[in-house]
Symmetry: C2
Subunit: 334 residues, 2 copies
DNA sequence: TTGTAAGCGTTATCAC
DNA sequence: GTGATAACGCTTACAA
């Protein structure tokens, strides 16, 4: 079933059928209704290959997700999919390994499918500054700040990681903790991880405290398992900390388990603070204290910004969405 | 950059270029290397729209995921994506709302993109028996048994839900529990949920026990929140149970929190058993006792079966993958 | 082994 | 308003 068949069936020409199917004006109401009915009847579907071949580009948004394991990305993606569906924007989601270059991947996929726009879930400043120049379609980087990069077609929306992790640390300091271990990300290879680390340092500094990085910091790829292992290592060095900040909820969960296995109770012996605000955290025992990133807002803003860049040629913008500190059961004052 | 350009550039005809790019035989070694080099140099990419338009089908596998919330599907999908990548099979993943008809959706998408094969993550027997007849490409239903349906092009691979949940219940009975509450799925609308319910009944029957469904069973859509709510309802009816079986780990997690909020300790006051074996469960305090579905095996089998159906015209098969009962910290004997 | 050319289903440019 | 018709980039007979 092609538009040719539909044309024959209705007695109109293919051009008219095409116009109707694409909701274009200058078609008589008669033609429109006749053709629409016929299309309905036969369950007709435009062939997207032919359409895109002709149009020289897809009408889809390409979403490049860096790393499959990141639970927050899943949540974000869920919102994005819902929003895109509402405005009938087809989404093409590409998951890629965290260790690969997401921008190079995007460049390749752009050549291949010519999307309308690009949404990056996670990304490394490094890769953007070296490879993004060959991308010329509207793009939004989510969860990282791209304002320093200065690309005219690259917006960004994210949490102010530095401020947020500073707030998390300050909360612990406020609660009386002075010896705080940190299970963070690899700050050498991830900007986000570096910023969260620096936020911690800001907080410590503002309290005039020193930080023994060698014995109190571990930088690992975010995962339950790595959170568990890193915490175990910190414990094995002799647990002299009363609080632990994990730069991701999944790591906090691993950390709590490791503490427990090491004979420590949370929060009685050690307070634990996470980062992300995964829904899961509300159901844990103890409920996880954490920095809640406004995932829904980030999703909405990124989709809206991308659409206005595409449709209205709006300029790139860089937005920090507010975060919330959820002080719940896994932290206590001492 | 098209194959025409490449042809001009190398002095060969488009046909030869096409042959080389598709790894076909009967091309001289000279031509092959010259063209390959030129393609490399210019970063050439075949236009997949043109290719698929010509070939009248995509070379991708369509994966239809029923419900975004199911954590086990995420895990399954992760494996499937890895496996597909290994054999260079493009995957097109379509997430759809749990409440919609996944088979109708697949029919529509098949018309649109003509995939090589179809992978269903989750599905309802009902929908398959009413709508699957119009699908004629190799398909595999994962996490549900399709053997009763008798479609020649529909394989299935799943856990024997009835046996597995029976095993879970029997373990609790074995541990001495006689009053067991069940937080299950909607057995009226989901075959999986019904089977898990029936497995429970099998176990109770084998112990000669009655079941007060009204006061001891809740059937809800799997989620943390619903697990929490359902358990709260059961508690409010007067918690006279010493054990609780949740038909999904996410519900078990919600249940544990609800029990805790109701003043019950797990496992001291109430034992809790989950179903799925999510990685997360190993890090919880208490570690979740659960039925571990062999997600990796399910992924491997479904991809392998689909490929052999596609490539060798292998007949449909129906496989139960073994499960494991992980008796960990959230259950105890009384 | 290679080249020529038809045609996949659509859109868009013309004429009418 | 409408209808021919020429692309879009590719694969694949069929010819050479």
């Amino acid at each position: 079933m092609t538009i040719k068949d539909l044309a024959k069936k209705t007695g109109y020409g293919v051009a008219t059928v095409s116009r109707v199917l694409n909701g274009q004006p200058s078609v008589s109401e008669t033609a429109r209704s006749v053709i629409l009915r016929a299309a309905e009847e036969s369950g007709f579907q435009l062939n997207s290959n032919a359409k895109q071949l002709k149009q020289q580009r897809s009408n889809a948004i390409l979403v490049v997700v860096k790393g499959r394991a990141n639970e927050m990305f899943s949540e974000l993606l869920e919102y994005i999919q819902t929003l895109a569906a509402q405005v009938h924007l087809p989404l093409h989601v590409d998951y890629m390994d965290e260790s690969l270059n997401e921008v190079q991947r995007a460049v390749q996929l752009c050549r291949e499918m010519k999307p309308l726009g690009l949404l990056f879930l996670g990304g490394d400043e490094q890769n953007f500054s070296s490879d993004f120049h060959s991308i010329d379609i509207p793009s939004v980087l989510v969860t990282n700040d791209a304002s320093k990069l200065g690309f005219p077609n690259l917006s960004s929306v994210c949490t102010n990681d530095r401020l947020a992790s500073r707030a998390a640390m300050e909360k612990m300091l406020e609660l009386g903790h002075r010896s705080i271990a940190i299970v963070g990300g690899c700050k050498e290879i991830s900007t986000t991880s570096l910023l969260r680390y620096e936020g911690c340092m800001d907080a410590l500094r503002s309290y005039g405290l020193d930080f023994d990085e060698k014995n109190s910091y571990r930088g690992v790829i975010f995962s339950y398992e790595n959170g568990y292992r890193a915490t175990k290592e910190l414990i094995d060095k002799g647990c002299n900390f009363t609080a632990l900040f994990a730069a991701a909820d999944v790591m906090a969960i691993g950390a709590i388990r490791a503490l427990r296995d090491g004979g420590y109770r949370v929060p009685e012996d050690v307070s634990v603070m996470g980062f992300d605000g995964l829904p899961l955290g509300s159901y844990l025992v103890p409920q996880l204290s954490t920095i809640r990133q406004s995932v829904a807002d980030m999703a909405k803003l990124s989709v809206d910004m991308l659409i206005s860049q595409i449709r209205d040629g709006a300029p790139a913008r860089h937005i920090f969405v507010p975060f919330t500190l959820w002080q719940r059961e896994s932290t206590r004052s001492i």
